[in-house]
Amino acid sequence: MAYAPPPSVPRRGAATPDRGVVFRIRRCDGPGKPSYWQEFEVAVPRNANVISCLQQIAANPVTAGGARTTPVVWDAGCLEEVCGACTMVINGRVRQSCSCLIDECAPREGDVVTLEPMGKFPVVRDLWVDRSRLFHGLARVRAWVPIDGTYDLGSGPREGPATQAERYVLSTCMSCGCCLEACPQFNLEPDEGRWETAFIGAHAISQARLFNEHPTGSQIKGERLDALMGPGGVSDCGNAQNCVKVCPKGIPLTESIAAVGRSVILHAIARFFRG
């Protein structure tokens, strides 16, 4: 799979009439069922995105060959690239389907748009995959600030704008999984029992950095580094840097991996001397 950098947004002029675009969709009726391809032709208005085309297909599920079929199933929420739900592989590149404009992924008449489910997560149905493992990764690195409780105890630590800016970027991770889909070290693992030791992926390593850098969050830094020291931790990263290229939020994942890698080494040395 080739992962091109995100294309720049082309200028669009006044509205033009709808044009026909063919969608080639890899479908699957459920876990353990074989996958198959179907094509749909959709009349696409200007500024349409992939989701609005899927909505058309759902309302009128007829293939390009004129055969009736079932509506294609997919996952979506915000429709403005902030919830991460609608992630899929479009023309070979993993990205959010809501922010994928047709004028951008199929600019010319006769272009075909290929839609596939993410390959690193088990398919539920069609384009909908089960990303529970991603959230499991967050629990694995204790991606939270261990506060004393929700009662009134005054404000949090003061923070300069530079630190805030750094934390804010890390904190925009929407758990979409693009970085996992693109990573050569992260593989499909349907067996939940192995999630604790399989490679955790860039998103969770970056979250560990986020919370390690917070004054209260750093209180359990050791636990996070323990989790990232063992099998499936930061040393499993092969430094291929695919993750950072596909992250839609521009999160500096390789910086995070490097930072956590250094902390893990220091942590390991300290533990060695403590015995």
Binding site: P61, W74, G77, L79, L101, T150, G154
Partner: protein, 655 residues
């Protein structure tokens, strides 16, 4: 005796805050959501969250003024005591979020930065970039994940709430369905908290997420829970028109200095930058010199609507006006508004730092919702006070318990004991119009403050000696059975017809529902049009009874779930239209051209909708708690003498 449990339906800000608070008190929580909670609609909130703060306080602002603004902004329809408690609690909520690690924007000295928002003359809105909702929900999601890993919360994600289970008048659980396996199952609980958010999808396209169908609230309503002020639907003045969604352009764009204008000459075809200042009509600034571009939403919406629809002054003659930030420093814009400017750039293709944005109003928020109760706090002036003079000393301090009694079991409980409603799904705080950046506050406030009420209800009230786990199975089995029958009936429609027939296609019915509600029940309403709308809803209901699906699969069947929700949304739509028809006045977001004035004598009351066994709505007016502030005319210092733009004669008649 078995252990007590709490069910929270919905994992947005309200549901997560409730789950954290209840779990912390030692009661196990089952948390249901149609999406992984981290992807809930709350992530969409951009602008910020309001609270009195040290800087504003030293300029004369107070929690009390925040309270006064909220009541005035809501056009005197909200019960006043709960709002007082919310605004008094707000600064402590910000502190808590700060402790959870929310990356609030900072000043050079490291304090929380503030921005200006609609309906206030003080900077009292805290923000984290232009994705405040995302940052707040992530902080709560992280805390709840922590509870989950400690075994205090169990998540049921991709589970859809179908109905409450009520036994002898008390809510003792829910029926829900796994959206993947389609298993229908009853769950027992000693209290159920509905935190299922708003209903934007009833209007087809809105600023809401696609999951904001309102179906969960509709299912409660159908089963006997009252629904209050359904007609109060907020239309946000500034959204980006789109084929699948009307994406919000946050009020913070105006708070940071964005100016709304149109060319003075109709159909002026020049590029915006070629139009000199003198030929631009900054209509909000001219009419409202004090508030200018940050007048509250309903007013801005009607003015924009008036400019485009009545005066024909929309940009290029269309339904759009400019929202202009190009006079601001691009670097500051990127730092403070980066997220929302990117949305515009991504979906429209122009850079708002150099080209004015084109925007138009869109359905945004439901002030109405499930009817809830509360116990008044200690503040009881002899007579309601006149409107608070801005920056004058407040009559009371902000100690807890003056607005609502902390821990009272009925705080935000519906008319069904044991069934609560928190967040956007209730009607409690925003009256006839919500102020920007007050929703996130009300959601988290509900979860935290009223979460304690849930705990007390269980420990001291009906469930105390009689946990739901020990009840006989009859009602649970019956609930499951009814939902299975409903499912099988819908799935059974596949074999016998052509689903692409528009008359019976669920997507076609859904689209027509949205179009009709947008046309009849948004910015401008009239009696005859609302009556027509109710007839149309009746027809759509009849068509829905004959709906045909295209997919009979008993596995992850999305179009089935969509169709089922449409059936429930139709019931809610009826309540919205009926409420709008019966409220023969104009107040806040509800604007009737045939009754353009506010009528406090008759209508300073809550519309309470009740649904009978056949799904038919009837409404009554219930008194509200207006014991703290006297109502005044809500003018926002408007300059010209026309009462309201919607009343204006069409452009042609005046020219």
């Amino acid at each position: 005796m078995s252990q007590h449990r709490v069910i929270v339906v919905g994992g947005g800000l309200a549901g997560l805050a409730a789950a954290a608070r209840v779990a912390e008190a030692g009661l196990p929580v089952d948390l249901f959501s149609v999406v992984p909670v981290k992807r809930s609609h709350s992530v969409c909130a951009q602008g910020g969250i309001n609270a009195c703060n040290d800087v504003a306080r030293q300029q004369g602002y107070s929690e009390y003024e925040h309270f006064d603004e909220t009541i005035y902004g809501g056009d005197f329809l909200a019960d006043q005591h709960p709002v007082l408690e919310m605004t008094n609690t707000a600064p402590r909520i910000i502190d808590l979020l700060d402790r959870m690690g929310v990356p609030f924007n900072r000043t050079h000295e490291g304090y929380r930065d503030l921005r200006l928002f609609g309906g206030s003359l003080f900077k009292r809105t805290h923000f984290a970039g232009a994705t405040t909702g995302q940052q707040l929900i992530y902080a709560l999601d992280e805390q709840v994940r922590r509870c989950e890993s400690e075994g205090k919360v169990a998540k049921y994600e991709f589970w859809e709430f179908l109905r409450p289970v009520v036994r002898e008048g008390r809510c003792v659980g829910i029926v829900a369905q796994d959206m993947r396996t389609m298993q229908v199952r009853a769950f027992r609980a000693d209290a159920v908290v509905m935190a299922t958010g708003g209903c934007g999808m009833v209007f087809g396209k809105s600023t809401n997420s696609v999951i904001c169908t309102g179906a969960a609230a509709a299912r409660c309503y159908r089963d006997g829970v009252w629904y209050a002020n359904p007609e109060m639907i907020q239309v946000h003045p500034t959204a980006i028109p789109g084929a699948d969604k009307l994406r919000l352009m946050s009020e913070s764009a105006r708070g940071e200095g964005g100016r709304v204008w149109v060319p003075r000459r109709p159909l002026d075809e020049r590029a915006p930058r070629d139009i000199p200042e003198s030929e631009r009509f900054y209509f909000l600034e001219e009419k409202y010199p004090a508030y200018g571009n940050i007048v509250p939403r309903d007013i801005a919406t009607r003015e924009i609507f008036d400019i485009c629809v009545n005066q024909g002054l929309g940009v290029n003659g269309g339904n759009q006006v400019y929202l202009d930030l190009t006079h601001k420093d691009p670097e500051v814009l990127s730092r403070k508004l980066g997220g929302i400017l990117e949305i515009y750039e991504k979906f429209v293709g122009d850079d708002p730092r150099s080209t004015p944005m084109k925007i138009f109003p869109a359905v945004h928020y439901s002030m109405g919702g499930l009817w809830t109760q509360f116990t008044r706090g200690s503040y009881a002036p002899a007579t309601p006070l006149p409107k608070h003079r801005s920056a004058s000393p407040p009559p009371i301090d902000a100690r807890p318990g003056q607005g609502m009694l902390p821990g009272a079991p009925n705080n935000m409980m519906t008319n069904v004991p044991g069934l609560y409603a928190f967040g956007e799904v209730n009607y409690a705080y925003h009256g006839a119009n919500r102020l920007g950046a007050n929703a996130l506050l009300s959601c988290i406030f509900d979860g935290l403050f009223c979460g304690a009420s849930v705990v007390n209800f269980i420990r001291n009230d009906a469930p105390a000696g009689n946990p739901a786990a020990d009840l006989p199975p009859a009602e649970f089995d019956a609930g499951e059975k009814r939902e299975r029958e409903r499912m099988n009936a819908l799935l059974g429609t596949v074999a016998d017809g052509r689903p692409d027939e528009p008359a019976t296609n669920p997507y076609a019915i859904g689209k027509e529902l949205g179009d009709e509600m947008t046309a009849a029940c948004t910015v401008v309403r009239t009696g005859p049009r609302l009556e027509q709308c109710l007839r149309r809803l009746g027809e759509l209901g009849e068509r829905f009874a004959r709906v045909k699906l295209a997919d009979a699969a008993a596995w992850s069947n999305q179009s089935f779930a969509y169709a089922r929700a449409i059936g429930d949304m139709l019931v809610l739509a009826q309540a919205i239209a009926r409420g709008a028809l019966e409220r023969r006045e104009s107040r806040g977001a509800h604007y009737r051209t045939d009754f353009p004035d506010r009528d406090d004598a008759t209508f300073m009351k809550a519309t309470v909708a009740r649904c009978d066994a056949r799904g038919v709505t009837s409404v009554a007016l219930d008194p509200i708690d207006a014991s703290l502030i006297q109502p005044t005319a809500r003018t926002y210092g408007k300059k010209d003498d026309r009462k309201d733009p919607g009343k204006a004669a069409p452009a042609a008649a005046r020219a």
